[in-house]
Symmetry: C2
Subunit: 220 residues, 2 copies
C-alpha cells in the first residue's frame, strides 16, 4: 500500500513536468507565430491550451484524492500542497503563451512586432523557453541550487522588458500607438511567464529547505 502511494506521489511530479513540456512548446510556437505572422501556428497554440487546462484539472483532482485517501503529513503533505500551487502557475503560463498567439492572430497578415524590436522579442522568447525548461528540471530534481539560478534568468527577462520600453520611446521615427499597445502587452506576457517560472522555483526551494529563497540567495 505504502509503495503504491509513493508511486502516486511520483505521478503528480511527472504530470507537473509534463505540463512544463506542453507550456514550453506553447511559448516556443507562440513566439514563432508572433515573429513570422504565422496564423496557422497561432491558431494551433490557441487550441492546444485546452490540453494544459485539462491536465491541471486532472492533476488537482488527483492531489485532492491523495489528500483524502492517504491523509499525508509532513513532507508528503507539503509536496501535494505545493503541487496544487504549481499547477496554477503552469496553467497561467499556458494562458500567457495563448495570449502571445492571440496577439499574432489579431495583427495577421501583418506582424505585431516591427523589425526594429524583433531582436529583443526573439530574446524574450528564448529566455521564456529556457525558464520553463529549467522549472521542469527543478520540479523533477528538487535541486535548490538550480532553483536559485532561475532568479538570474528572470533578471535577464526584466532587463529585456525594460529595454523594449526604451526601444519604443527612443527611435528616430516614432512607432504607431497600435504598435506600442501590442508590444507593451506582449512584453508584459513574457515577463509574467517568467515570473511564474520563478514562482515555481521558489516553491521548490521552500519545499526542500523550509526557507524562503530570499534568505538563501546570498549563500549560493
Amino acid at each position: 500500500m505504502r509503495d503504491a502511494y509513493h508511486e502516486e506521489l511520483d505521478a503528480l511530479t511527472d504530470q507537473l513536468v509534463e505540463m512544463t513540456r506542453l507550456v514550453g512548446s506553447a511559448i516556443s510556437r507562440a513566439s514563432t507565430a508572433l515573429l513570422d505572422a504565422d496564423l496557422t501556428l497561432a491558431e494551433s497554440v490557441i487550441a492546444a491550451d485546452d490540453a494544459v487546462d485539462a491536465l491541471r484539472d486532472e492533476l488537482d483532482a488527483r492531489a485532492m484524492d491523495l489528500l483524502a485517501r492517504q491523509q499525508p503529513v509532513a513532507s508528503d503533505l507539503r509536496i501535494i500542497v505545493t503541487t496544487l500551487k504549481m499547477s496554477g502557475d503552469l496553467e497561467r503560463m499556458g494562458d500567457l503563451a495563448r495570449h502571445v498567439a492571440r496577439s499574432a492572430r489579431r495583427r495577421y497578415p501583418e506582424s505585431a512586432v516591427p523589425a526594429a524590436l524583433r531582436a529583443t522579442i526573439v530574446e524574450m522568447g528564448q529566455v521564456a523557453e529556457r525558464l520553463v525548461a529549467k522549472a521542469g528540471s527543478v520540479i523533477a530534481s528538487h535541486d535548490v541550487e538550480e532553483a536559485l539560478q532561475i532568479e538570474k534568468d528572470d533578471d535577464e527577462m526584466d532587463r529585456l522588458h525594460r529595454a523594449l520600453f526604451g526601444d519604443l520611446l527612443n527611435v528616430a521615427s516614432p512607432f504607431s500607438i497600435e504598435t506600442a499597445i501590442d508590444v507593451t502587452l506582449v512584453s508584459r506576457y513574457y515577463e509574467r511567464f517568467a515570473d511564474h517560472a520563478v514562482s515555481i522555483a521558489r516553491r521548490v526551494v521552500f519545499l526542500v529547505t523550509g526557507r524562503q529563497p530570499r534568505d538563501l540567495i546570498e549563500h549560493v
Copy 2:
C-alpha cells in the same frame, strides 16, 4: 475537539474576507493616487502590500496545519484546498493594486492618465472595487447566484478595457508613446484584478455545487 476544528475552518474564511478588505482598500487608494497624481497615497499603497503577503503566508500555514492535524475529507477538505487557491488570487490582486500605485509614482508629479481617458479609468477603478467587495461577500456566504453575478461585472471590465484601447487609437491629436505604454499597462492591471475576482467566484461555485460555472450559467 470537533467544535474547535470548525472554528478553525471558519477562521480561514474570516481571514480570506479580511484579505478582500485589504485588497479592496488597496485598489481604491491606488486608483485615487493614479488619478490625482498623489505620491504620498501611492507610496502608502506600495508599502501596505506587505501586509497582504503576510496574511497569505499566515493563512496558508494555518491551512497546512489543519490538513496535517485534522486530516479532513469531503467538503471540509475541499474548503481548505479552495482556501489555498483563493489566497493566491488575493495575494495577486494586492500585487496588481501595487502596480497601479507604482504607475502613479513613476509619472509623478504628472498624472499617468490624460484627461481624455480619465472617465474610463475612474470606471475601471469602481468596477474593480465592486468586484472585490462581491468576492468577499461570496467567500462568506457561499451564495452561488451571487457568485455567478460576478461574471457580469467582469464583462463590464472587459468592455472598459477594450474601450480604452479604442480611445487611445481614435483621437484627433495622438497621445504620446509613453502615455500609450502607461495606460495599456494600467488597463491590463485592472483587467487582471477583475479576472482574479471571477476566479474566486468560480472556486466558490465549484466548492458548493461540484460543477463548473460554465455548466450552470444558462440556468440563472
